[in-house]
């Protein structure tokens, strides 16, 4: 397979975004329709590329591209393994599902303020973070996706948006600064920033360096992934942008943080995976519990769903915590379950936020106490919301069931009773929460807080642009649930690939002639 394909998920959205910007400023016409079509075509092509990569890498191989022909520690490496390919596919699916909803619901003002180019740049940043094999490049892609998300969050300039925007920007910036400091320390102590090369040299590095780097990365990536003590930015900002933007963020952003935690712990610190297991599982348990308890107290649909994102990130971290455990089960079973859960979460969560957004737009507000009785008016939306909700809560035959079952099985098998118990409690709380949403928004007397926008689900094309993606995501979730075993085999391949760090290093193959010695090996700062 041609390794140049690896650049496509990054380069294509970037170039099309630039083209859209140029088009929208050229000749005084915005060409919104053309922008929409080009964005859709781009994302479809990215999906095809991601599927091709998944087809290739899930056979157990890795695909490596050394940018510009520079050999490994000197140039920038792009590398795709199973984990990367699965996440690229999911990213493209989520983006393709959100795009029609955005076309139907985003107002013309935002569309004119470069909404579609920003959308593509966000996708490019996410893809880049998944693909890169260079530590500093990872930082740059994080900043790219954060910059796009800053603007998407605050575009339109509603008072609440600027208010939450400040918190979101500042807390994410602090996380990025910790990451950047970690990159500086890594270069100072290891003398390299190529991830495979770093992994090689970390084996010989003193424990203090390893623990310092692991701690800083856990803080930096944990703040992006909204782990327990660092999650505050998420529920205080996700309810302010338009629903389409929230769905895109909820589907993609925290998952980049989770992916980087997975990658850094499997590649850089596999021994800390065992040594820090109580810490990881403790954070996972606290995150699950805080997320689902916080959701109980929230007064609006989107705030409840935002808190659920936090809760589910805890489940994924639990899978990483038990990645190497399991007495009766194969190695990598835990990580595999976590990846499967991530796939379930990205599809279902996006669908549910879209459904919640449709409710919000339909009702003219999403404060639970002032809405109700939608089931009689919009039965199809009600059905889609209900099925997405029970999929999120983990009722078979949807994907939530298989995701939670495999995670629970490995946790029980490795005898971590407490965190397994916490995860069951969190699941029950999730079920209560989504049923609360269902009851408040769809049952009871029909009421709405005032300004109605009846155009949304009555307009012939818009109706399907809104309901179509939710239904498609639901079908994917159903497929993931019904063919769970097949998908679980794929994620197991991906997990074993991710845990096989010698294979990763060999694939990147950093050159090191005798004379090549970084500051770490020569030592002795004067």
């Amino acid at each position: 397979m041609n390794p140049n394909l690896l650049a496509a998920p990054i380069a294509l959205p970037l170039f099309v975004a630039a083209l859209l910007l140029a088009l929208s400023r050229w000749g005084g016409r915005q060409r919104i329709g053309l922008q929409r079509w080009l964005a859709a075509v781009t994302l479809t092509v990215v999906l095809v590329v991601a599927l091709a990569l998944a087809q290739f890498t899930l056979g157990g191989q890795r695909l490596v591209l050394q940018m510009g022909g520079w050999q490994a520690p000197f140039g920038i490496t792009l590398i795709a393994d199973g984990l990367t390919a699965i996440l690229l596919t999911l990213t493209a699916l989520v983006a393709l599902a959100v795009l029609p909803f955005a076309i139907a619901t985003i107002d013309l003002h935002r569309e004119r303020m470069a909404f579609y180019p920003l959308f593509l740049v966000l996708v490019m940043g996410v893809n880049g973070a998944f693909l890169t094999g260079d530590f500093f490049n990872l930082y740059v892609f994080f900043e790219v996706l954060l910059m796009a998300s800053f603007v998407l969050l605050t575009i339109g300039g509603q008072p609440a948006q600027t208010h939450s925007g400040i918190r979101y920007v500042v807390l994410n910036l602090l996380g990025s600064l910790v990451f950047l400091a970690a990159a500086g320390i890594a270069y100072g102590t290891l003398g390299t920033l190529n991830m495979a090369h770093m992994a090689q040299r970390l084996d010989a590095a003193p424990m203090a360096v390893r623990a310092l780097l692991a701690g800083m990365l856990l803080v930096a990536f944990g703040s992006k992934a909204a782990l327990f003590p660092l999650f505050f930015w998420l529920p205080s900002s996700y309810h302010t942008p338009p629903p389409a933007v929230t769905a895109l963020f909820g589907g993609l952003l925290t998952k980049v943080g989770v992916y980087t935690i997975f990658r850094s712990f499997t590649l850089f610190f596999p021994d800390l995976l065992a040594a820090w297991q109580p810490l990881l599982l403790g954070i996972a348990g606290a995150t699950m519990l805080i997320g689902s308890l916080g959701a109980m107290a929230q007064p609006t649909v989107r705030r409840v769903l935002s808190f659920h994102i936090i809760s589910h990130v805890g489940f994924m971290l639990m899978g990483l915590g038990v990645a190497l455990n399991g007495e009766k089960l194969a190695v990598g079973f835990g990580l595999s379950a976590a990846i499967l859960y991530m796939a379930h979460h990205m599809l279902v969560k996006t669908g549910l936020i879209l459904a919640g957004g449709a409710v919000e737009i339909e009702m003219g507000g999403d404060r639970l106490q002032s809405i109700g009785g939608l089931v009689g008016r919009r039965p199809l939306l009600a059905l889609l919301f209900f099925l997405s909700a029970i999929s999120l809560a983990g009722i078979p035959p949807f994907s939530g069931f298989i995701g939670k079952l495999t995670l629970l099985q490995i946790t029980l098998d490795s005898r971590h009773w407490t965190v397994a118990g916490v995860s069951i409690v969190a699941s029950v709380l999730t079920l209560i929460n989504v049923m609360r949403l269902w009851q408040e928004a769809f049952w009871g007397k029909y009421e709405h807080p005032g300004r109605l926008t009846p155009w949304l689900l009555d307009a012939p094309v818009r109706r399907w642009l809104v309901l179509g993606p939710i239904g498609a995501l639901l079908l994917l979730s159903l497929g993931l649930g019904l063919f769970g075993e097949r998908f679980f085999q794929m994620t197991t391949t991906a997990a074993q690939q991710a845990l096989d760090r010698t294979g990763y290093i060999a694939a990147v193959h950093p050159v090191q002639p005798e004379s090549v010695a970084g500051p770490a090996e020569t030592g002795g700062h004067d």
């Binding site: 500093f136 920007v169 990159a183 500086g184 100072g188």
Partner: protein, 177 residues
Amino acid sequence: MTQLILALTVGILFACGAYLVMRRGQIKLILGLGLLSHGVNLLLFGSGRLTLGQPPIFADKQNFLADLARGRLADPLPQALILTAIVISFGITAFVIVLVNRRHTITNSDVVQGELVPLLVEGDPFGAEIREGYGYDWLAYEVDEVYERGQMDARGSRVSPDEDESAALEREGYDQR
């Protein structure tokens, strides 16, 4: 000695930045973020070791690594990293300033408040005077209420400044429907 000075500078920048970021004022927040990113940039600079008076240019292509180890040339990589980091932090700082400015024009206040707590302009350290009908910052309320701005203004003040947010929610009847 040079290294000690560099390390102390980085530490002081981090400490001042962390202090400023934790303040309520938005201007202090911006200054704090600036100091923190300077601290990180200096840390990156120090990661390539300190080489005094040498250019980051390879004169001898064969033995540059030996030269690097002996301190005959400066490591060019951290400088490239810092350049990237400076550009990024510059962009983000500009964005934050615009955001803060936008917020200031809306609220006429510099204070960052917690969620659901209405701002009292009286409490603003920059001392904006309370104008007629401009007592509170309603930003802190839910987005749907902000959308329904007309309704919001008509209702007037529902939460007195002494009340905390949970009491306010309770009085609004969230729990006793």
